[in-house]
């Protein structure tokens, strides 16, 4: 050993020790981070601005809040001016974690699904406002549709998000192509397979499928499982009362792999992005598309929709023979989590919250055709035909289910979505797909 190296080694060890010591000091400080009690009225301190942190990808929210600031919420905006900050959807967890640890969370912010749950990083630190008690105190709890609040509570375990969207998911289909080939709306999965075969033989792509985004594929697995195993299918997995390796779940993965194998998703679907898949459906190249009702903004845009809005039907995912689930159980979601910081929930922020709850529903529906989970207090005339039909559908839904990964932890969600491309290309069997996923869920429980 070279004796001259000893001081260097000592220096390096010293730096490492110092680092560890400073981190250890840090740990106690960070653990103390906690929010104020959000149970009673606006108890925080108003910030200088009503800053809303939203995703770059979601321009509708910023546009509609701006419209409210210039209209129905003018007084609130004058008292506490609205400001926007944006973040890429993929960086939400990182950004919000950093902002929260620096005590710099904006008044109203987007957050990761797992973060706002009671045991999540924000939930455990008491950094998310309980909207139920806040809106009740403000006297506007009735402005949230019961279906929307129940969906939010199911996903996040508490009422910590505002329903800027309220989406049902199902299969959009091209009525003209169905009529041309004499296809009736499929009520069972077997009928869906027959319809797909007819469509493929006629030269159409049965399903426009955005495999690059992965979730459109995992949604199909989830829906098949809900129809076969029943509406408690994914709750049972969360509560460890069933395993994804049980027959019904494996059959669900196999069913989707078979759809891909038969070529019903079209050529190159694994690398197709959502915009290209939407384009394939709205130009009449593909006959069906499983999607959420957020697709309405594309359907209502004549520049994108070349098949005409009258030509689009919307049906639920069909029933599976012998399954315990029903075709009337619609998958629903209330958009991304949008929380409020209890520390900055003062009277002026409370006024903004009240104004949003009372006016966002009408504003978003009239302006962008977006169906939200807020009550629509003003009649919106001349609604596009598909929007009107879906709004009616939303109102008539009694029972909802969640989506495949809704109750999974972040890592398992990521695994479900990254491995699905291996499943649908035959590189991973349905058994292995489900067993790897179950293993991840068990490890992160």
């Amino acid at each position: 050993m070279n004796p001259r190296r000893t001081p260097k080694a000592l220096l390096a060890s010293g730096i490492a020790l110092l680092t560890i010591a400073s981190l250890a000091a840090c740990s106690s400080g960070a653990a103390e981070t906690g929010g104020s009690d959000s149970a009673s009225g606006p108890s925080g301190t108003d910030p200088d601005t009503f800053t809303v942190l939203s995703a770059n990808e979601n321009t509708t929210l910023a546009t509609e809040l701006d419209a409210l600031a210039a209209g129905a919420c003018k007084a609130e905006d004058k008292a506490l001016p609205l400001e926007h900050e944006t973040v890429a959807q993929a960086d939400v967890v990182q950004k919000v974690t950093l902002l929260a640890s620096q005590d710099s969370l904006p008044a109203h912010f987007i957050a990761g699904t797992a973060m706002v749950r009671p045991d999540g990083d924000l939930g455990a630190a008491d950094l998310v406002l309980d909207y139920k008690s806040a809106l009740t105190d403000l006297g506007v709890w009735d402005q949230i549709l019961p279906a929307a609040s129940s969906t939010i509570e199911n996903v996040y375990g508490q009422m910590v998000s505002l329903p800027y969207q309220y989406n049902l998911e199902g299969i959009f289909y091209n009525k003209k192509i169905f009529a041309e080939l004499g296809i009736e709306e499929p009520k069972t999965f077997d009928e869906l397979l027959d319809a797909s075969a007819t469509l493929k033989d006629a030269g159409y792509t049965p399903f426009a499928e955005a495999g690059a985004a992965a979730w459109p594929l995992t949604r199909l697995i989830g829906m098949y499982a809900y129809r076969l195993v029943g509406p408690e299918a994914m709750t049972a997995i969360r509560d460890d009362k069933a395993k994804l390796t049980d027959d019904g779940y494996v059959e669900a993965a196999q069913a989707v792999a078979d759809l891909a194998d038969k070529g019903y998703f079209g050529q190159g679907f694994v690398s197709t992005d959502p915009a290209a898949a939407t384009n394939a459906f709205l130009t009449g190249e593909a006959a069906m598309k499983y999607d959420g009702t957020w697709l309405l903004s594309n359907i209502n845009d004549p520049a994108q929709n070349k098949i005409g809005e009258d030509n689009i039907g919307f049906m639920p995912f069909p029933a599976v023979d012998g399954g315990k689930g029903s075709i009337d159980q619609w998958p629903a979601n209330a958009g991304t989590a949008f929380a409020m910081n209890p520390k900055s929930y003062g009277p002026k922020v409370g006024a903004w919250l009240k104004c949003i709850a009372e006016n966002y529903g009408s504003q978003a529906l009239a302006d962008a055709g977006v169906i939200s989970g807020f009550k629509v207090n003003e009649e919106v005339p001349d609604l596009p035909v598909t929007t009107a039909a879906i709004q009616e559908q939303v109102a008539s839904v009694d029972e909802t289910v969640l989506w495949f990964e809704a109750l999974m932890d972040g890592k398992s969600t990521s695994l479900a979505q990254s491995n699905v491309s291996l499943l649908v290309t035959g590189q991973l069997s349905a058994e292995d797909y489900m067993s790897q996923l179950q293993q991840s869920i068990d490890q992160n429980r």
């Binding site: 560890i20 960070a30 653990a31 990182q94 455990a124 190159g268 690398s271 290209a276 491995n419």
Partner: protein, 294 residues
Amino acid sequence: MKRVFGDRKTIIILLAPTLVLYIALKVVPVAWSLGLSFFEGNTLRGFTFVGIDNFAKFVQDPAGIQSLWVSIIFAVLATAGQIVFGYLLALLYVFVLRKGSAFIRTAVFFPMVLPTVAVALLFKSFVAVGDNQGPVNDVLNFLGLGSVEFLASTVGTMGVALAMTWWSSMGFYAVLLYTGLLDIPDEVIESARIDGANGIRLVRHIVLPLSLPILISSIIFSFNSTLKVFDSLLALNGGGPGTTTAPLTLYMYRTAFEYAEYGYGSTIALVLTLLCLVFTLAVFRSTSKKSAEA
């Protein structure tokens, strides 16, 4: 001048500003990251000291081990291609094109200045299938073969990633190695030729040994950059299909920033640093042996 550099105080005064910056921007973050690898948590949840648990976790983590292999396989193949193609190009510049090589040198070097993400998107569209089919599948169709969805398979994605890396960087290594070849005195080449060494024998016995130092530097340089590959594989296929082409860097990024596990993320970063160190030392050792034998 000698007096100035012989003065200890002067040396300290001249070095101090740069050294302080270097320590603040390089040494401290590295040490900080090293320290973090013994903790679990994040800035919001707080950190808990877990000793060597993160290292034990990595050894038993199938996703971590898979990423480690992806990094190693990619680095070995990418480096081999970059150096072999670069060296062949350098030989072409020096012995075939000679003084007329300037244009070819520039043209082959050009992709190096393009952003890797742009190159990845370009190659993605080259191999696309479906409505916007790319030229690669057009050629396959022209030859009577069916279209292939390259990015749907691990081998296909890795192949495209390697082709992309070679295409964009071989020009750089060609120029680097070209400068090494230019340093070989003409007289040595001439006398070897007079002695009857031509073609492959000339390259093997004269050119290769004389350009060994720059070749070794290139190999180390290439290994260290390809082991840290991130943006190109992320932009090409997001580390997919599945996570089969996700290198350590991508796994580290996801662990630290998507799952907010800073401690385990730092452990993965440390593994990557050790890997770079091991590769560099291995190349150094093998060459120092060769030099000693020579």
